[in-house]
Amino acid sequence: MQLTPDLNAPTPAAFSTSATSSSLPGSNGTGALHLALAAAVTGLLGGAAQAEGLKVPAAAPAATWQADAAVLLYREGDGRVTALEPVISLRRNDGNDRTTGLRLTLDTLTGASPNGAVAQPTAQTFTSPSGKGTYTTAAGRTPLNSEFRDTRIALLASHERPLGTDQRGSFSANVSAEHDFASVGLSGSWTRDFDNKNRTLSLGLSTEFDRINPEGGVPVERGVAFAGTSKSSDSRYVVDLLAGFTQVMSRRWITQVSYNLGRGSGYHSDPYKILSVVDGSTGLVTGDRYVNESRPRSRTRHSLNVQSKWHLTQDVVDLSYRYYRDDWGISAHTLDGRYRWELGSHGGSGDGGPYIEPHLRWYRQSAADFYRTWLTEGGEYVSGAAGRSPAYASADTRLAAFTGQTLGVKLGLPTGQGREWTLRVETYRQKIDQPANAPGALRSLDLTPDLKAFTLMVGYSRPF
C-alpha cells in the first residue's frame, strides 16, 4: 500500500486532461446533449451513480474505471530463479473521489536457489527439502537446490475516500498463498492536506499474519540438517507503521519524506537454508557436515525515504534515497534515479507523447550480525550431542554484505485517450563481499558468486 497523497489532484481552476486523474469534474453544461450523455454513462455503469445522475443531472459525476495490466519476466543467470508474474488491476472512481480497486497477481517461480552450503573442491550431495530425493552439486560450485518451484497467487482489495474537505482515508486487505506459505494482511491510512494542498501528512498502519508450512516440515533450528523436523508449520506476525510528509516546493518540484517502522515476531528463518560445518585448516566439510540455519524470532526495521521530483522544461527527474537499519545489524543505503525524457513536444499540462526513461539504482547493505558463510568446527561450532552452536547463524546471502546495481530503461508509448503501453528492460547485478580468512581449500573457490538478473516488463493501461 502506497502513501501517495493526492496533492496534485487538479483543482477545477487547473484541471488537466490527465488519464489517471481521480477527480473528473462533473459537467457544468445544462444542454440536452450533456443530459443525454450523463444518462447514458450512468445507465451503463448502473447502481447508485445512476440514481445520483437522475437526481442532479446537471452536475452528475460519472464513474470512471482504470485498468492496468502487466507481465513481468525475471530471470537470473546460471540457471537460477526464473519468475513469470502477470498482474491485473482494476480501479473504479465513483465520480465523488471514492476509489475502489482490486489487484490480482500470479507468480510462477522455477529454477534453482542457493541452499546456503559452501562450495567444496569435491561434489556434494544433499537431501531435497521434501526428504524424498537427493541432488548433487559439482565440485567448486555453489550448491543450489534445483527443486525450487512455486506458484503464488495474491489478491489485493483497496478502498479510498475523502473524509471531509482536506482528509482522505484508505483501507486495504490482501491475501496471498503459495504451496508452503500463506499470508493475510490489513492496512489503513489517513491523509491530511494543509495549506491549499501544498503539504500533506500521511499516517498508516499495516498488519500481516503469515503461516509457513515448509515442505517436509519446519527444520529444527541449529539442528543437524536433513535429520527430521520439529513441527509441520510456524507463523509470523508483522506490524508496520508509516508516516509520510509531502511538500510542494514549487510549480516544478515536489518532495516527500517518509518513515517506516516495522516489527515482526515469530518464525523468521528460511526453512530451506543450511550452513556448512568446515574444518578450520582444510576448509573441508566435517563433523555434523550441515546444520539448519537459525534467525532471531523478532525483527525491528526502520527505513527513512526521501524522494523528489523535478519537472524540467519537458522532462522529469525523479531521485530518491533510502536509509535502512534493523536490529539484526543490517544497515543499507539505496539511491534511485530516473530521467523521463519526453520524445514528443507536449508542453504545458498534457502527458501524451512517447518517452524514454533510463533508470539507475544503487544499493549497499552491511551483513547481519549472525551471517556466516560457513561454521568452523571447534570454533563457534562443535559437532556431536555434547557440542555447541551459535544462537543464530545463517548463510543466506541476502543477509550478507553486498552491493546491488540496477541499470534499466523504460519506453512509454501513449496511444491516445489515456491509453499507454510500456516496455521496461533492466539488469540487476549483486556483488557479494568475499568472506575473509577462508581456510584451506576454500581459498581457491568462488564462495559467493555474483548474482545477475534480467527483467522484462510489458504493461498496458487504459481508462474506460
Partner: protein
C-alpha cells in the same frame, strides 16, 4: 591504570549522530521537512499553478504495478525493505 580494553561494539545512536557524514545525511534528508514546517512562505503554489504537478508523470508513484513488482523483487533479493510503502506484502521469499 585501568587495563580494560574498549569492547568492540556497534556504535550507539548518540555516537552515530556525532559522525559528520551521518549528520550531513540526516540534515539533507530533513531539509525539505524543516523548510516546510518552518512555514517558509515561498514554498508551495497557487491552485492555478498546478498544471505541471497535475501531470501523471509528476505523481510520486507513476505506475503502482511497476512499484509493486519492484518492491516484490527487491524484497526477495535484499534485506532492506519499506520506506515509501508498507514492506512485505505477503511473500514467503524472504
Amino acid at each position: 591504570m585501568s587495563t580494560l580494553a574498549p569492547t568492540p561494539m556497534r556504535p550507539s545512536l548518540p555516537v552515530l549522530c556525532r559522525s559528520r557524514r551521518v549528520r550531513l545525511g540526516l540534515g539533507l534528508m530533513a531539509l525539505p521537512a524543516l523548510l516546510a514546517l518552518g512555514g517558509c512562505g515561498s514554498l508551495g503554489v497557487q491552485p492555478w499553478e498546478r498544471d505541471l504537478l497535475a501531470k501523471p508523470s509528476m505523481q510520486l508513484t507513476v505506475s503502482p504495478l511497476e512499484a509493486a513488482a519492484d518492491d516484490h523483487t527487491y524484497f526477495s533479493k535484499e534485506a532492506a525493505t519499506g520506506g515509501r510503502s508498507f514492506g512485505g506484502g505477503g511473500c514467503g521469499c524472504n
